[in-house]
Chain length 210, copies 2
């Protein structure tokens, strides 16, 4: 499969070609280049051919977003694999670094993953699954650290949400140019710094009655 199919009436695998063209256009020319007509032109097909493979533009964008979450999960998994002897807390830090590293390396894609059109994810179960999987990796690492006694015994969902909010907020603020140099101590290694802050602070966290 995946033949180029040079000039035939039927493209062969338009769907994949469109997705890949979209990803390339996103990296190269930014989100403004993500118009159906532009993508169709890039693939060499008429504008409305897209509708044979996607219900509408949102559907295509959801596919792109899904691929983004899968890439995010893959990047985190990759980093975990490169340090197999890490203990539970270290694994959480690795995930935080991987998360923010991916998000900051693909700002346009990451923005799209949380775009306005994706809010109602009920329409795109694959997207919801991919997003849940990424979050699940964080949650699992948090749970592992709790089990290992490296994090306080607090509801895992709450701890995970805190961790997620931290890396997500940091990534988006960075991508939006809201952070000055003073707030970005070591450039690329910012994620590491922040994750360490999170881990260290969480380690001493105690759920006060008051």
């Amino acid at each position: 499969m995946n033949r180029p199919a040079p000039d035939s009436y039927h493209h062969g695998n338009l769907r994949d070609a469109l997705v890949q063209a979209a990803l390339e256009a996103l990296e190269r020319d930014g989100p403004a280049a993500l118009s159906l007509r532009n993508l169709a032109r890039a693939v060499g097909v008429s504008p409305t051919a897209v509708y044979r493979h996607f219900a509408n533009k949102d559907d295509l964008m959801a596919t792109i977003a899904t691929e983004g979450f899968e890439g995010l999960s893959a990047e985190m998994q990759r980093r975990l694999g490169s340090e197999p002897d890490a203990d539970a807390l270290r694994r959480l830090m690795i995930l935080g670094e991987g998360y923010s590293g991916y998000a900051m390396s693909h700002p346009a894609h990451y923005r799209l993953m949380f775009g306005r059109r994706m809010v109602d994810k009920d329409d795109y179960p694959a997207l919801a699954r991919a997003a849940a999987h990424s979050y699940g990796m964080l949650e699992q690492a948090v749970a592992g650290a709790v089990d290992a006694g490296q994090l306080p015994d607090v509801p895992v969902a709450l701890l995970s949400t805190m961790a997620w909010s931290l890396v997500h907020g940091l990534s988006t603020l960075h991508n939006d140019g809201m952070l000055t140099d003073k707030q970005l101590p070591r450039g690329e290694a910012l994620g590491e710094t922040f994750t360490r802050m999170l881990a260290l602070s969480l380690r001493h966290f105690a759920p006060g009655k008051e």
Copy 2:
């Protein structure tokens, strides 16, 4: 000033009317209703009249975004004023609650404030100022808590960024529907919970060499 000017050729104060119409349309019909033509129609003026008061659509959006940051700062200030005897750490928590409370009460507006078009804020100094002011309130509260010995003596810019990332990430994740009920323990009071977590954890934070 500010006369209605019912049917005269000149509107009177089109600029303010457009901004207010945009804010109402945003609350009522969501961001899709924010087209120049739609706003012009709502105000009862021809589409291109907008260009006598705004360079282009981004310019108008930047004004809306600026107003958003001003509202955000005002809300935080309001809550601070309602509890004048709060100590430094409590003040930080109040700000966190106010921030996330405002962001979650105005999801479309808050999204616009960090929208794609606003990334290059150099073109909109008023927007940059308003955003910096909101962040400044957080930073000042963090600095106060550090001075009072309620937070560890760590670079204020870093602590503030952590606090900002937390409330920003939490707000956007919530607004994007990424948080389930398990992660939203007390609905509206979520900001409080989270801010307490931040404060408690920060209180025990220690910057490790390691």
